[in-house]
């Protein structure tokens, strides 16, 4: 039986013996970033269950090992949803037969298409409990929606990939789920024209909550877009039903493009689920997957720079998130790095065979002073360097 206390005991033991621990939930993301060299695994999977759900206060607390689908079902039953729309990347990372956990989604700060309008996973973590590398339980934030009391360790721990603490409990802000969803699909635009259209849509007063561009080969892998043969520029509205109708109509008039299609709630949900989970990239078992984040108008330039490489790609977040899959070799990886750097953005090698992810930087190096602060923050949280060593940076 895993309890928070047994996690403390395991960490304390690891501190004493200086034996590194692989920290995970159900391990669905163990293929992300760098492999961890650890003799023992500490899983939070058995620390499971929703501790508090107050729909009227827009607050949900659950143990880190709670399967995400269980949480999604609980909030859906109350007519609410998870704001950041976290993806299920099992199509890219490999099926494990087990669901991802809330802790896994928070530790990796994974957000879906709604991120562009409503914020990332980290924006909705209101409270956290974690066991540090000092084998102490610490809390940050709480169970209220607005809280600036002390340093924000919720944000520091979210996206820290288990390297600063073992997250044991998470409190999320949730919101009412929209009554309806609508999608406007503009066919046939190239990446530059598409991002210009997405920028215009996101810069409209209509509250666009999804803005993606899929090239033709990606469209072909999304069943919901079977009626489109070329590329598709997708614009989503989530609102009360009359507002969806009105706003999609206004956007359609604004672009006045022949062949524009609109999709209703059920069709939209299916399409955006595929975008969320990056399904257009899937089915390359030996390949690598990257995410590049740039200012949206730089997205097409990144694709252009990588044109000569054999890659699949599409754009989300209005053009600012470049999803890529391609050959898992150092040359392709170097090309991705330099394309992201040239665009002033950041990149993550999300998934690759161990040989590649052991050999290269999986995220950009930090400049000297920041690298020093990173080492000192790591030392402050995990002085014995036992929590997921090497996951983000070699030697850290």
């Amino acid at each position: 039986m895993t309890t928070e206390d047994s996690i403390v005991a395991t960490v304390a033991d690891a501190v004493r013996t200086r034996e590194p621990l692989l920290i995970q939930g159900n391990g669905t993301k163990s293929g992300m970033l760098r492999p961890v060299q650890a003799g023992r695994t500490l899983s939070t999977a058995a620390l499971s269950g929703i501790n508090l759900y107050a729909p009227k206060e827009l607050i949900l607390s659950a143990w880190a090992g709670t399967p995400l689908p269980e949480i999604e079902a609980a909030v859906a039953a109350a007519g609410q949803h998870l704001i950041a729309e976290p993806p299920d990347l099992s199509a890219l990372l490999g099926e494990t037969g087990r669901p991802q956990t809330l802790g896994g989604v928070v530790a990796t700060n994974l957000s879906g298409p709604r991120r562009v309008a409503w914020g990332a996973m980290r924006d909705h973590v209101m409270g956290i409990r974690a066991v540090t590398g000092r084998a102490e339980i610490i809390r940050s934030g709480g169970r209220v929606l607005k809280n600036v009391t002390g340093l924000d360790l919720c944000k520091l721990l979210t996206g820290s990939h288990g390297t600063l603490g073992v997250i044991t409990e998470i409190t999320l802000k949730v919101l009412p789920a929209p009554e309806a969803t609508g999608t406007l699909a503009l066919p046939g635009l190239d990446a530059v024209a598409a991002v210009a259209a997405l920028s215009a849509a996101l810069g409209s007063p209509f509250g666009v909550s999804g803005a993606a561009w899929l090239p033709a080969e990606a469209v072909a892998r999304v069943p919901g877009l079977a009626d489109i043969s070329g590329s598709a520029t997708l614009i989503r509205i989530e609102e009360f039903a009359p507002s969806v109708t009105y706003r999609i109509g206004r956007l359609k008039d604004q672009f006045a493009l022949t062949g524009a299609l609109t999709f209703g709630t059920e069709a939209s949900k299916a399409i955006w689920l595929d975008v969320r989970d990056a399904r257009p990239l899937a089915s390359r078992p030996d390949g690598a997957v990257w995410r590049i984040s740039v200012r949206p108008s730089a997205g097409p330039g990144v694709l252009d720079a990588l044109q000569s490489h054999d890659m699949r790609s599409f754009l989300d977040w209005g053009g600012g998130l470049v999803w890529l899959s391609g050959p898992a070799d150092a040359a392709t990886h170097a090309a991705v790095e330099s394309a992201a750097q040239a665009a002033g953005g950041t990149w993550t090698l999300l998934h690759a065979p161990d040989t590649l992810r052991n050999a290269v930087r999986v995220v950009p190096d930090e400049p000297g002073a920041l690298a020093r602060i990173t080492r000192q923050v790591k030392a402050a949280m995990d002085p014995a360097h036992i929590l997921n060593p090497g996951r983000l940076y070699a030697g850290l």
Partner: protein
């Protein structure tokens, strides 16, 4: 009373040399050291506490700020960063041996980028200045603290400021993309950029709300948003705090997230009405201001639904604005709340706890009991959607006993907020004001962990050292090391 750490005798003894050392690092008139000219910097929005600093440095560039910090670091001089000095928690209160690094001369907007929906501004640009720069094109910067005419974006970042519209648009942390900062060692760092979600640790998230203890912020890249087609407010008044609280629950449960949902209790309604003549119902026990956004049709539909919900709670007054002018009138009293309370009381303390919204009726009842027992009046204004409570405690600063009682009363309210599952501060920050209450919310080892994170950025504890954490006793106790 809040104790400040003793000045370092060696620094005070070297005052003239330090001033002479700093002067060449700054432009003409960029260093203030004459006692009379230090006066304006001796306090901030928590005006009960005053302490002139050793000197004030007013850099015009990031490089100048870096040179000042490097000098201070090499010479062991404490640094207190300052924006407009509007902090209500004493976040910019100087120390006698500290150099205040003020951002007011770094007030330029460097870039506005509509296709990428971001703007790069220097730390001394005012909050409203960002919105003003983009409003002609239909855009705005979302967080809107009450001090937005004066407060600076650098200060907003350091305090993670909120406002009345956070329920929909989030607080400062949710509206930032990048920062340019200077470490205490004088190194210039770029955090994030014009893109979302930089890889690696979330420095942007940790630095936001760090109250000037980790770095000095000199430039900020903010998200700018396109405004809605329109917005309109309604006013609903009820016979009791419990009833208004139940109406708030019903609104959230309906699936409508209003862009603002403000709650005022009877004393707040009376104070604001006397001041602003906004037409507030004086026979009400509690009042809600609810604002929605969208096209005219969308506003009509949402306001109609909200009115239907409110009608189930026997409102004694229900007023749906029919125009932008009527909406302004509804907001007028609320926005003038501080002035209104200032008119009926010589001084007031503005508290800032957050509570689970379900606890509102209980908390308001307890605050009224405390008000009776301290014999001090209080008016309550509440961002009801997100649980952020602002009790305004009225007192007379010329009467030491009254001030002392007001501080005790405020501390009791904040302890109550923690007791019912909330926190000490929702948007004003800890500063010096709530520093000594931190052990109410955090265990000693949790505070020690936070102190170690400060040490990771600032090993010698030179940056705003007397804020947020209770002073260590004895003061000479070894500072926590990062490792």
């Amino acid at each position: 009373m809040i104790r400040q750490p003793d000045p370092k005798p060696d620094i005070m003894a070297r005052r003239d040399a330090i001033i002479a050392g700093l002067r060449p690092l700054l432009p003409e008139s960029g260093l203030i050291a004459e006692p009379i000219r230090l006066k304006p910097y001796e306090t901030d929005g928590l005006s009960a506490y005053r302490q002139p600093p050793l000197a004030v440095a007013l850099p015009e560039t990031t490089e100048q700020a870096a040179a000042v910090l490097k000098y201070c670091h090499q010479n062991g001089v404490r640094v207190v960063p300052r924006g407009a000095g509007t902090s209500l928690s004493g976040g910019a209160l100087p120390l006698a041996d500290a150099v205040v690094v003020g951002m007011m001369r770094m007030n330029r907007i460097l870039d506005i980028n509509y296709p990428d929906r971001c703007a790069v501004v220097q730390a001394g640009v005012t909050n409203i200045g960002i919105t003003n720069a983009v409003s002609a094109d239909g855009f705005f910067y979302a967080p809107d603290p009450s001090s937005q005419l004066a407060c600076m974006i650098g200060g907003n970042v350091n305090m993670n400021s909120g406002g009345a519209h956070c329920l929909k648009y989030g607080v400062t942390a949710n509206n930032l993309l990048g920062l340019k900062v200077v470490t205490i060692e004088g190194e210039i760092l770029d955090i994030g950029g014009a893109h979302l979600d930089a890889a690696g640790y979330d420095w942007l998230g940790l630095l936001t709300g760090s109250e000037g203890m980790l770095v000095v912020v000199t430039e900020v890249t903010v998200r700018i948003l396109r405004g809605p087609e329109g917005a309109r407010a309604m006013l609903a008044a009820f016979n009791g705090n419990e009833i208004a609280g139940a109406a708030v629950d019903a609104i959230i449960s309906s699936g409508i997230i209003p862009v603002a949902l403000e709650f005022m209790d009877r004393p707040a309604i009376h104070a604001c009405e006397a001041f602003a003549h906004a037409g507030y119902p004086l026979d009400a026990e509690a009042m809600l201001i609810i604002e929605v956004e969208g096209s005219a049709d969308e506003q009509d539909r949402l306001l109609g639904q909200l009115a239907d919900i409110c009608r189930k709670f026997d409102p004694i007054s229900l007023k749906i604005s029919q125009s932008a002018e009527e909406s302004l009138a509804i907001w007028k009293g609320r926005k003038g709340a501080f002035g209104a309370v200032g008119r009926i009381s010589p001084d007031y303390l503005c508290m800032d706890g957050t509570i689970p919204t379900s606890q509102l009726p209980f908390v308001l009842k307890r605050i009224q009991q405390m008000s009776d027992s301290y014999n001090l009046k209080v008016a309550n204004i509440f961002h009801a959607g997100d649980g952020n409570l602002h009790p305004l405690i009225m007192f007379d600063a010329n009467d030491a006993a009254s001030f002392h009682a007001a501080e005790e009363f405020g501390a009791d309210i904040l302890k109550l907020c923690v007791e019912v599952g909330g926190c000490l501060t929702g948007e004003h920050g800890v500063g010096v004001e709530k520093r000594d209450l931190m052990p109410v919310q955090f265990h000693a080892h949790e505070l020690q962990q936070q102190r170690r994170l400060k040490s990771a950025f600032d090993p010698d504890w030179l940056l705003n050292p007397s804020k947020v954490f209770p002073l260590l006793e004895p003061e000479s106790a070894a500072l926590p090391q990062a490792a």
